[in-house]
């Protein structure tokens, strides 16, 4: 029913365009540099252009570190894109910078979005309007290096946090000087570990990261226990070291880490590994069997400066890149799970040894509503560094981090 509606809209759009403008419309698409995402998007653009010869899509990419800066700056200079990708956590920053316009509910009806997509899309809804739609969603899982596990005599991947620590200890290798030469578990708070800590560990130790109003709520015993547990991995258990091989994913990819926690988006980067076999399993539960996960996504929104026939073309393009067909391409190339439930929860995916753990994770996943993702991540990095590098008590460091993060949240509300 809905499909037919969209098809009708598409045909109407095409005929409208064909009658009013014979010349091609050129629209700009922006995303950050991540090899597999760029490749996937190139493919989507090719398909889209083949179906819509009157529209040309130009893809521009920026390094991840500068992406937000560049987008806001370009917007201020009146050079914004028509369609752009943004992390759901950047929405408020981008809205404040006037980068995005809400999706037109005629082209993207709210009910359809609500029923077809995973519930986490609501994180890009403000005042009843959606500001973007994801192609794919991501959750976390535990990656393991089968060769290293076998070497360490581990037959089955860990199911609980205690098992994870025990296995990581067995798999850690050190040289004569006590330096780690191969990690048991990668520790990289600048990577996905800060998400793991916030939405998974804090909950598993009995806390909640944020309260209903979005204020910091992790500054309690549970939060302190979770932080102590995490920092102990480096200081006490010595199963890993922050900065080893520069990044956790590099260590795992290089075959020098037995376990790493990462997201679906890493699948594409790990696929070409030939030196060893690897597997994926659900994030470990706590002793009571409590599971949690962190889900996130990059949404595609329409630039505030896009109007007229460019906007019509942008809406068409957005419709295509969030279609089931595009999602299958994205899953194949990038490895991220489709954002539409029907496209994700297929029997094939649920039986897939790699996708299944991520899909299971989506069932009990939480989403953090960031107000300034970069600053909040920086605060989390500093929190761990204070404990690991400056030997501050986890409790004090946690309190300091909570105050700082609450200040960021307060500032965004002004």
């Amino acid at each position: 029913m809905r499909k037919r509606f969209m098809l009708a809209g598409l045909i109407a759009g095409i005929s409208l365009l064909a009658s009013t403008a014979a010349q091609a419309v050129e629209i700009q698409y922006w995303q950050y540099v991540f090899e597999t995402r760029v490749t996937a998007m190139d493919q989507l653009i090719k398909n889209f252009e083949a179906a819509n010869p009157d529209i040309t899509v130009t893809q521009t990419t920026f390094p991840y570190a500068d992406y937000q800066t560049k987008v806001i700056a370009a917007q201020a200079a009146g050079q914004g894109p028509d369609v752009l990708q943004f992390y759901y956590g950047w929405l408020d920053q981008f809205r404040k910078g006037g980068v995005l316009q809400p999706l037109d509910s005629a082209a993207f009806p709210s009910d359809a979005i609500k029923s077809d997509f995973f519930g986490i899309v609501d994180a890009v809804k403000r005042d009843g309007a959606y500001y973007g739609l994801p192609t794919a969603v991501r959750s976390l899982a535990l990656f393991y290096n089968k060769n290293l596990l076998k070497e360490a005599g581990i037959t089955e991947p860990p199911k609980t946090l205690d098992e994870l620590v025990a296995d990581a200890k067995k798999a850690t290798k050190t040289d004569g000087g006590g330096n780690i030469t191969s990690e048991g578990l990668t520790l990289d708070f600048a990577g996905q570990d800060h998400q793991w800590w916030r939405e998974v560990l804090v909950r598993q130790f009995g806390g909640t990261p944020y309260d209903d109003k979005g204020n910091v709520a992790y500054n309690d015993d549970a939060g302190a226990k979770a932080l102590t547990w995490y920092t102990d991995l480096q200081t006490k258990e010595k199963v890993g070291s922050i900065g080893f091989m520069d990044e956790g994913q590099a260590a795992f990819k290089g075959g020098l880490a037995a376990f790493t926690i990462d997201g679906t988006f890493r699948l594409g980067a790990f696929k070409p590994i030939t030196d060893f076999e690897w597997g994926v399993t659900e994030l470990p539960a706590n002793a009571e069997g409590v599971h949690s996960n962190f889900a996130s996504y990059f949404a595609n929104g329409i630039g505030a400066g896009s109007t007229g026939e460019k906007k019509a073309a942008a809406e068409k393009f957005l419709t295509y890149i969030t279609s089931p067909e595009a999602m299958q391409i994205w899953l194949k190339v990038v490895g991220e799970l489709p954002a539409r439930k029907a496209a994700a929860l297929t029997d094939a995916n649920l039986a897939d040894p790699i996708y299944a753990p991520f899909l299971k994770g989506l069932d009990y996943a939480h989403t953090t509503v960031f107000v300034d993702e970069a600053a909040q991540r920086q605060g989390a990095i500093d929190m761990v560094n204070r404990v690991v590098l400056d030997n501050q008590a986890p409790k004090d460091s946690l309190a300091q981090a909570a105050t700082a993060e609450q200040a960021i949240i307060d500032k965004s509300r002004q």
Partner: protein, 285 residues
Amino acid sequence: MTAASPDHQRSASWRAIRPGRIIAWTLLFIGGLVMVTPLLYMFSTSLKSSAQVYDLQLIPRAPSFDNYIKVLADGTFMRWFFNSLFVATAVTLSNVFFDSLVGYTLAKFEFRGRYFIFLAILSTLMIPTEMLVIPWYLMSSKLGWLDTYWGIMFPGMMTAFGTFLMRQFFLTVPDDFLEAARIDGLNEFTIWWKVAMPLVAPAISALAIFTFLGNWTAFFWPLIVTTSNTLYTIPVGISSFSDAQDTKWEMIMTGAALATIPTLVVFLVLQRFIVRGVMLAGLKG
């Protein structure tokens, strides 16, 4: 050639303490090798495959140019290279022209306000670029200069340092030469361009070398003003390139090597010239 004689004189006394001389030479030489070690490792690693990166041997076991081919294949790097070359050349030409012209005017013309203008230009040496980038950025944003070649170049089109340097040199040019040309009926522009400029050729080359090198390696402003990949200069490109490489060190080293090779080649070809240019600029500046 005057430089050679003090050498002779001094080494006479030096010869008296021979063992010390050998030790000093050896230490200097080792120090020099230490200085270039990071670069040697950079080159050596750029010739290694990813499997060999972590054995710390300086000489790669099976050197190959695969990484270079990989980096150069998609053309992005060549684009950055061209951008850097274009920007640095254009800014250098502008500086050679305008700094010389202003330096000459301030050295060889007499008019009211000459000293004031000289001091005003000189005073800009005290203003750090960092203070200007915010107004420049807002101005560029208003005028549509962000993410354009002109946007990268405009702040450096003239510099107080170059003007000062050229003025110092033009002061040493005897007035008689210029008077003679004037009597021959040449106009002032021609006198400057055809008569005065050739007399300060060493200074011009010093200025050109400094300006070019400064713009070739410039990072701060190009980082701020460029947004698209196709307009990056080499330093900005290499920074983003390294970021996007997922810490593949052999690829990062290849990129760094590609950024370094052009200046090294130019230096090895023009070594005497460059060293003399730096000395001149340093002494007069």
